[in-house]
């Protein structure tokens, strides 16, 4: 078969539209932001073009670095939990009978059909003091109280105390895990799906148990998907601003909220641009570390 790359006309016809799209709607706006990040804020929030590093100097003040650090932590914790939940899920789908696979995949993707804002509001309804979860717990509590009263132990359960589940860091993590789970499951599923199952059979035949097989064979083979999935979940969680704003408490502000504020009520686009680029550089560093790790692995065996 002739490589389609050799046909210059077809190649350029296919490549030109996406390239133009990328340049006009991604590269150029990014470039504008980069130019803005060196600008000065006018008294009414005007953008006076200049070459000064004051925005970057302000962006790396301790307080902003602290917020970035907190965002890294929140993102890392939610990614870890997402992985703990997502890996077994991906495995389950990959090893499920073929006729179930598509349905299970559909269920993973299904939440995307609803707006993120609505899904986050749904979590408010579930987690708040008078929310569904607390209602459920209260019901259980009442049932148990009735049971203990029946066997002659009244008051052993005490009064029901609603759990404070919303408006704190935990709620933010729950929200992030929920939102970014599919982004982690899909790449892992893709690698597991392609994985040659005879390796696993060989491992089991040669005497390794199921756990040993999981950690010594399945996981290492699925590593590229695991790394991609975790990176995706981590980077997306890092930049989020909707989840902490709706589910977070008084100390949940993340870097995304800080940036969003610069483009709205604080009307400081130059500072906002500098913060965005700081985040972008950070993301690049993470991707670079991943790339160099990957190339080292591919080195001489």
């Amino acid at each position: 078969m002739e490589s389609w790359r050799k046909n210059k006309l077809a190649f350029s016809v296919l490549v030109l539209p996406p390239t133009a799209w990328l340049v006009i709607f991604f590269t150029v706006p990014l470039l504008i932001m980069w130019v803005y990040s060196f600008a000065e804020r006018g008294p009414q929030g005007q953008i006076y073009l200049a070459v000064n590093f004051a925005n970057y100097a302000r962006a790396i003040e301790w307080i902003h670095l602290g917020i970035i650090w907190k965002s890294v932590w929140v993102a890392a914790i939610s990614t870890a939990i997402t992985f703990a939940v997502g890996f077994p899920l991906a495995m389950g789908i990959a090893f499920a009978p073929t006729r179930w696979k598509n349905l299970l995949l559909l269920l993973v993707i299904l939440p995307f059909w609803t707006n993120l804002l609505i899904r986050t509001y749904a979590w408010i309804a579930v987690l708040r003091t008078r929310g569904f979860l607390n209602f459920g717990l209260e019901w259980l509590h009442d049932e148990f109280s009735a049971f203990f009263a029946l066997i002659g132990l009244p008051d052993v359960m005490g009064e029901f105390q609603a759990l404070e589940l919303l408006y704190n860091q935990k709620a933010v993590v729950i929200g992030l895990v929920y939102v970014y789970l599919p982004f982690l499951v899909l790449p892992i599923y893709a690698t597991l799906e392609k994985l040659n199952k005879s390796y696993l059979e060989a491992s089991l035949d040669l005497g390794a148990g199921h756990w040993r097989t999981l950690f010594s064979v399945t996981m290492p083979l699925a590593m590229p998907g695991v790394v991609s999935g975790c990176l995706l979940a981590f980077i997306l969680s890092m930049g989020t601003f909707l989840t902490p704003a709706l589910l977070g408490g008084t100390d949940s502000e993340m870097i995304g909220n800080l940036i969003a504020r610069q483009f709205s009520s604080s009307r400081d686009w130059p500072f906002g641009s500098a913060l965005s680029f700081l985040l972008l550089y950070l993301t690049f560093i993470i991707l670079w570390v991943r790339a160099s790790m990957a190339s080292r692995k591919r080195g001489p065996i």
Partner: protein, 354 residues
């Protein structure tokens, strides 16, 4: 993800999340006479049911009507030059910002005879002395919504800012200028101060108060109030009014220290393509009957004195809508603080990070 209105929206209940993206066209397309057009850019749910049709009936001018979800979105559009609008509805500080940025037309009063209907209380606002650039429209306040059976009577911002009696049962708005503004008022300063020491004092008080708060919530305090998540919130009067109708135990008050109020004005942006029609529209909205129809639809307080005769009595008698004059006197509208805005931003960041 950009088209939802939170966290910048305020006081617009029932706001569709896609308000920004929605552009309703009331006029038929391809209207022949070019000069018979008017392009209006307004908040969502902020006009009467018959306002536009009666305007078209009276003048023959077709109205093209677009919506914005928050002021910053509107302002961003004008920063690159007027995209073709004739009439806009900015609020207090934004009017001043747009005057300073040379974006508004100085109004020719002779073309707005109905201006005489405006309440004298609103004729000399700090953000536009003498109302040279705006015709005052509606106003409202940011006060305390609370559950009577849990907190009793509330008359001071102290309960939210300087008191731990209802620790964990309170919330403030996620709006830096309004929250820092009322804190400044509580401390006896101006809500529009540019003095860094006063802003720092407000910041320190808020950092202390924060331990007792459930959160800084984006315009959802009324939902938390009615669901029982909190007992005291700082909220817009329009939002609390909504839940007061559903729950008798909830009420709204403006504390004795006064509060930050908002006043929206009708303005003509520079470069308006249909200037004469814009004046006609301003005059139309300042008409007593027309204005009252708007007020009866949106349930905000009108600044139009003549219109009050036609406003529903239930609204007029409701202190949560028409605050008493002495409360109004102690209150302030936000002004453009210019170069001091980054000070507010820095204080807000420190409050959030503390």
């Amino acid at each position: 993800m950009n088209n939802f209105s939170f966290p910048f929206t305020r006081r617009r209940f029932l706001q569709g999340s896609g308000a920004a993206a929605v552009a309703l066209t009331f006029s038929g397309r391809g209207v022949s006479a070019q000069e018979k057009k008017l392009n209006v850019y307004n908040w969502d749910t902020y006009i009467g049911e018959t306002t536009l049709s009666s305007f078209t009936d009276n003048t023959g001018v077709q109205v093209q009507y677009d919506l914005y979800a928050n002021l910053e979105e509107m302002f961003a559009k004008f920063q690159a030059g007027n995209p073709g609008y004739d009439v806009i509805f900015p609020s207090d500080y934004m009017i001043e910002t747009m005057i300073n940025a040379d974006m508004l037309v100085e109004l020719d009063r002779s073309k707005i005879p109905n201006f005489k209907n405006i309440d004298p209380n609103f004729l000399n606002p700090s953000f536009d002395p003498g109302c040279k650039y705006n015709v005052p429209y509606m106003w409202g306040s940011c006060g305390i919504g609370y559950r009577k059976s849990k907190v009793g009577e509330v008359d001071s911002w102290k309960i939210l800012l300087d008191d731990d009696k209802h620790s964990g049962r309170m919330a403030l708005l996620a709006d830096q200028r309004f929250v820092i503004g009322v804190t400044l008022l509580y401390l006896g300063y101006s809500a529009n101060t540019t003095n860094p020491d006063e802003i720092d004092a407000a910041r320190d008080l808020l950092i202390k108060a924060k331990k007792h708060l459930k959160g800084f919530v984006p315009d959802s305090g009324q939902d938390m109030l009615i669901s029982g998540d909190v007992d005291v919130v700082m909220e817009w009067n329009g939002d609390v009014l909504k839940v007061m109708e559903e729950d008798d135990d909830l009420t709204y008050t403006i504390p004795k220290e006064g509060t930050v109020i908002w006043v929206d004005g009708l303005c003509i942006p520079k470069g308006a393509p249909n200037m004469e029609n814009a004046y006609k529209f301003l005059n139309h909205l300042a008409d007593a009957q027309v204005n009252a129809e708007v007020a009866n639809t949106v349930h905000y307080a009108t600044t139009n004195k003549a219109a009050r005769e036609h406003v529903a009595k239930a609204d007029l008698d409701n202190p949560a809508i028409y605050a008493p004059d002495d409360v109004l006197k102690r209150s302030q509208a936000l002004a453009d603080v210019g170069d001091a805005l980054p000070l507010y931003d820095a204080a807000w960041t420190e409050i959030q990070a503390a």
